[in-house]
């Protein structure tokens, strides 16, 4: 566990020193929230969750890409691939949790007649899903630009696609709209259950994808043997 905690701690320190990025991360979802503040009550909540997911995925994408240079030598220094990706996941989940608290408080005190517990659940699932989503993109796409473009496409689709459409379920943050409907429009608990299953499944699948991609990239090659 020492190795995982060390990676997590130092990854957190790295993020904390990127003050400009942190500021953008903090303000970005607020812009989404404010853009729909005067419209339908629930739209601003849906948008702030989307903004949060986008901001965190992007942060994870860039953190994952920045680590690509040092991870191979850390692997040679005695780390296993899972030490490295679990440490980074822990660090970014912590950042996400810290970032989402002020937004939950904003919704809590700015919006009436919504199910606050469900809003907290959306934010928790958003943090849980967005981090491995960004890390998975950084693991699969070697260049940040490509990853950023994919993120743009995914979030763009998330905004324009009808959540009732079956294809929309393939999008990583579909659960946010589904649980959002339950929280804002007070629909039946079927929305909550579907959203919860989708969010948990996506989180597990994306975390597994990060583990697999990291394991392949940092594998010990077959031609090399240690005695």
């Amino acid at each position: 566990m020492t190795k995982i905690w060390t990676v997590a701690e130092l990854a957190l320190r790295e993020v904390a020193r990127r003050r400009g990025v942190l500021l953008i991360l903090l303000v970005f979802p607020l812009a989404f929230y404010a853009s729909r503040r005067d419209e339908h009550t629930g739209q601003s909540i849906r948008f702030v969750c989307l903004g949060l997911s986008w901001a965190l995925s992007t942060a994870a994408l860039f953190a994952g890409s920045a680590a690509r240079g040092i991870e191979p030598r850390l692997r040679l220094s005695g780390y296993r691939a899972y030490h490295l990706h679990l440490g980074r996941l822990l660090a970014l989940w912590t950042v996400g949790a810290v970032l989402s608290v002020p937004y939950f408080l904003l919704v809590r005190f700015d919006q009436d007649d919504v199910r606050y517990g469900a809003i907290a659940l959306i934010m928790a699932l958003t943090v849980a899903t967005a981090v491995p989503f960004g890390l998975a993109l950084s693991a699969i796409l070697p260049r940040e630009l490509e990853g950023t473009l994919v993120l743009l496409i995914v979030v763009g689709l998330q905004m324009v696609m009808d959540p009732a459409d079956t294809a929309a379920r393939a999008l990583p943050f579909w659960f946010s709209r589904e649980i959002g409907t339950y929280a804002i429009d007070h629909t039946d608990s079927g929305y909550l259950a579907r959203g919860l299953v989708h969010g948990v499944t996506l989180t597990l699948a994306l975390t597994a994808l990060v583990a697999i991609a990291s394991g392949i990239r940092l594998r010990q090659r077959r031609h090399l043997r240690f005695d």
């Binding site: 040092i70 191979p72 850390l74 220094s77 005695g78 090659r221 031609h223 043997r225 240690f226």
Partner: protein, 287 residues
């Protein structure tokens, strides 16, 4: 002074110091590559051409201007009669192609404990590729590598975390090697001291000069005292003093029983190593 002007002046100064023309070309090419890759101004990286030429001439033992026997060489420690230690690194039949172009063809290398092997060759000869294959960072098309012990690797560039302080790098690598924080910091400081570098302080890696970042890279590779050290031109950006310190450190590691593989361009250092692996393709050698 721009890079071209500086390189031209360096070539003149090297010629004035009687350096072998081939070696001069290597030195100028290496400096040009570094300047192009780093984008840093030559005066900041290497200092004035005359000073850098003097440092190179002294380190490779070139005749001084005006002839004479005043040859200043890097002082190599007196070495007891060589007794080869156990084999630490065995490389057999490494072949690598990029697309259809062969880069490495059936390359073999054996390095024992207490030996330094130098890997030389022209630009594009596959020196870094060879080292990356030895480190297991790249797969060959054929061949195998066997390491008896632990491995440390120093890349030509990169390999550090931009936003971390040097001592945090020591802690990070040290944890992988099973060192406690205090141990890792102390070991890092000791290795840095041998390169005349004081790493304490709150300077993030991205703010270190090119040479100091390479010192950090080198210290990270050596932390935990690995049995085999793979060093890919680790002296890029080193000033004269550090370059000399670097070779002294290499000899100390060799005396401690490490097996070292170092990629180098400075061919006149080759009489101070135990094995030379020349990766220059045969057709270029005969040309």
């Amino acid at each position: 002074m721009n890079s071209d002007g500086w390189l031209q002046a360096l070539a003149g100064e090297l010629h004035r110091r009687g350096l072998d023309p081939d070696l001069s070309r290597h030195v100028v090419a290496e400096a040009a590559t570094h300047l192009r890759d780093s984008g840093e101004p030559p005066l900041q990286v290497f200092g004035p051409p005359a000073t850098y030429a003097t440092a190179v001439a002294e380190s490779v033992g070139a005749p001084q201007p005006g002839g004479g026997v005043g040859v200043a060489r890097v002082a190599m420690p007196v070495r007891p009669p060589h007794t080869p230690g156990p084999v630490r690194l065995e490389v057999r039949g490494i072949t690598k192609r990029y697309r259809r172009r062969p880069v490495l063809t059936s390359v073999d290398l054996t390095v024992r404990a207490g030996e330094i092997a130098a890997v030389v060759g022209a630009n594009g000869a596959g020196k870094s590729t060879f080292l990356r294959i030895c480190a297991g960072l790249l797969s060959p098309d054929a061949g195998r590598v066997r390491v008896h012990g632990t491995l440390g690797y120093c890349p030509q560039s990169g390999g550090t975390a931009d936003f971390l302080y040097p001592e945090e790098h020591f802690v990070l690598v040290g944890a992988g090697r099973g060192l406690h924080r205090a141990e890792a910091r102390a070991a890092g400081r000791a290795h840095a001291g041998a390169l005349d570098w004081e790493p304490a302080g709150r300077t993030q890696a991205r703010h270190l000069s090119g040479g100091t970042r390479q010192k950090l890279n080198l210290v990270m590779a050596a932390l935990g005292e690995p049995d085999v050290l793979l060093l890919d031109e680790p002296y890029q950006g080193f000033d004269r003093g550090t370059y000399l310190d670097f070779w002294q450190q290499l000899w100390r590691w060799r005396a401690d029983g490490r097996a070292i593989v170092v990629v180098t361009h400075l061919l006149n250092q080759l009489d101070r190593v135990d094995t030379v692996l020349d990766l220059t393709p045969a057709r270029e050698m005969s040309a």
